[in-house]
């Protein structure tokens, strides 16, 4: 394996653009979990959907939360958006997901190598680690870098018909999120449960 991360041939994309492309592909009330910070800001900015959940803390738990949704509703496709820094906080979750093999779960990692929101400090993994290699090593065989936007859309299409969990890693630029999620955790949770058909509004 080529471990020289600076020599990657993957295109540097933009988080909001990639997120918007994902949302455009979702036609069947798929659930989307947005990780802490920019990841859910761009999910919010891409246009609120009733099946979106926005994290306001608990860094690193986008994939575990999405796993819980996927286990609760095996007929619904579940996508999770996570940053590389967040994922580094909870790498063990990849093995948990690989063990449980939820066929309806797709993980998307937005990798810019920095903690953008705190001042763009590089992550400890930035120049040495490969997210997809970590995911494969954790047991998620269906993990791939998106080469460019077109390739990302192809990987999403594949994921929508997948029979096992998938991870898509996207190299992104250092731009901040383009929106700001309304920070109302009770409403976020309640509306998400309505969107998943678990509850009816009062």
């Amino acid at each position: 394996m080529n471990t020289d991360v600076s020599a990657r041939n993957t295109k540097v994309m933009n988080r909001f653009d990639v997120t918007s492309r994902l949302i455009t592909k979702l036609k069947h009330e798929e659930a989307v979990i947005g990780g802490i910070g920019n990841t859910n800001f761009d999910l919010w900015a891409a246009g609120h959907r009733p099946q979106n959940f926005y994290m306001l803390g608990s860094m690193g738990l986008a994939f575990p939360i999405a796993l819980g949704v996927a286990l609760a509703q095996p007929e619904r496709r579940v996508f999770a958006l996570e940053g590389d820094g967040s994922l580094l906080m909870q790498l063990g979750a990849l093995s948990t997901i690989a063990t449980l093999k939820p066929e309806n779960l797709t993980m998307i990692v937005m990798d810019n190598g920095i903690y953008q929101i705190t001042g763009a400090q590089p992550t400890p993994a930035a120049n040495v680690a490969d997210i997809v290699a970590i995911a494969i090593g954790s047991g998620l065989a269906n993990s791939a870098w998106a080469a460019d936007e077109e390739d990302f859309e192809r990987l999403v299409e594949e994921a929508l018909a997948a029979r096992e969990p998938r991870l898509i890693a996207v190299r992104i630029d250092d731009k901040p999120g383009v929106g700001t999620t309304r920070r109302d955790p009770v409403q976020i949770r309640e509306l998400f449960m309505h969107g998943l058909g678990v509850r009816e509004p009062l």
Partner: protein, 188 residues
């Protein structure tokens, strides 16, 4: 484990129909339709974990960290499936952030069973210190918690607490004291 079982057996059994603490916990989970059980293991919890794995009603699996398990049952709750997290005292000590940023503000009925180490015969100084952080953290967030010491009170406390967590949409910690489980004692 033999020690724990032995000490458990000295508890009064007539009020509980001869059932062990772990049988009562399993049956109480099932009666309340709690079927998703992520855990980080603990010696004392071993018979409960073994029986949960053996019962197809439950989806029982280990996670790498306790907060990961909290994330999983939180997602499952929002998707309409009930879960509970099993851990030991030191695992609870890793949860302050996820309690304060996910379970409490999003009003998620997070059900936690904590096997209590660090007291009543602890042999590891670090465990006894970490145990002292548990109730202050729970109290600082005004979280409901009960320390269960008696076999004849276990079912009432666990069943009522689970129902209260669900109906009030608030987390609860059920602390399984060595008086109930026998705890873990110095053997090697």
């Amino acid at each position: 484990m033999a020690v724990a079982e032995q000490q458990t057996s000295r508890q009064p059994t007539q009020e509980s129909g001869g059932r062990s603490w772990h049988t009562i916990v399993l049956q109480t989970l099932k009666r309340n339709e709690i079927s998703l059980i992520p855990y980080v293991p603990d010696r004392v919890l071993t018979p409960l974990i073994k029986n949960l794995h053996a019962d197809p009603f439950f989806t029982t699996f280990a996670t790498a960290r306790e907060e990961e398990a909290v994330g999983i049952v939180s997602g499952a709750w929002m998707g309409g499936r009930r879960g509970a997290v099993l851990m030991q005292t030191s695992g609870f000590a890793t949860l302050a952030n996820v309690l304060a940023s996910l379970a409490v503000p999003y009003q998620i009925p997070l059900i936690m069973f904590v096997s209590e180490r660090g007291t009543l015969g602890e042999f590891n100084y670090g465990q006894s210190l970490v145990c002292r952080t548990m109730r202050p953290v729970l109290d600082s967030l005004a979280l409901e918690h009960h320390t269960i010491t008696r076999l004849d009170e276990l079912e009432f406390i666990a069943d009522r607490s689970i129902k209260q967590a669900v109906t009030t949409q608030a987390p609860v910690a059920l602390i399984l004291n060595p008086l109930l489980t026998g705890g873990k004692v110095f053997d090697k």
